[in-house]
Symmetry: C2
Subunit: 131 residues, 2 copies
């Protein structure tokens, strides 16, 4: 069940120490462009836009997930936004060149990034204890 026809979650995660993250890779501008394009296309009542924390594809951001289909878009730039709005939200298609299609590979990537994030957090905690 979705109150709107589409619900898109846009990752705006920030990370410390220069770690790769959607915010550093320009998700703020992508979010602004997305909202503007949705408004321009008259799709405000069709698409709900929500920001989200890390979904685990940090090196390949900006990332977004569109429901109800569960389409995971990676590496979305401002220039890609009009196509996503037109093709996906307007016509119900998928922008294939930006969509991840292998759930097993995605799960492995997310799990590995989760492991690295925990490791980095532990390293930071250890450093803080020393100083």
């Amino acid at each position: 069940m979705e109150p709107f026809k589409y619900h898109v979650y846009v990752c705006t995660q920030e990370k410390p120490d220069g770690a790769p993250c959607c915010a550093a890779r320009g998700s703020g501008k992508v979010l602004d462009a997305l909202r503007a394009q949705i408004g321009k296309a008259g799709l405000d009542g069709v698409v709900q836009v929500t920001t989200c924390g890390s979904i685990g594809l940090c090196e390949r951001g900006p990332n977004m997930v569109v429901y109800p289909e569960g389409v995971w878009y990676a590496g979305v730039n401002v220039e890609d936004v009009p196509e996503i709005v037109r093709e996906h939200f307007g016509r119900g298609g998928v922008v294939a060149r930006l969509a991840n299609t292998d759930p097993a590979a995605l799960k492995a990537e997310i799990s590995e990034n989760r492991r690295k994030a925990i490791e980095a957090m532990r390293a930071r905690t250890a450093t803080q204890k020393k100083t």
Copy 2:
């Protein structure tokens, strides 16, 4: 497509000036409890947990949405978390007493809260210009 069997987005939105929001209503503790319970149940590889910004049911938080089903849970307290983990993520059921079931009512509520948020933002901007 979802890399994990379930993906839950937990709203942790903060809002200024005492406006109702999931953060003020305890979403941080709910998130911690959710992560702990998922780990305890051995479901780390089954459920992906992601934080999210406002989904528009601010007076009724903490809110979370579970995919692929698109179940919108509202008013989730720490005490509700074990049941959600056991019944939904463990057994594939829905905790009916916390789930919203009327998408049209939900859309109206979200649209009204969106209108109020824009109004409040404009009022803040106007006040800032005066001072």
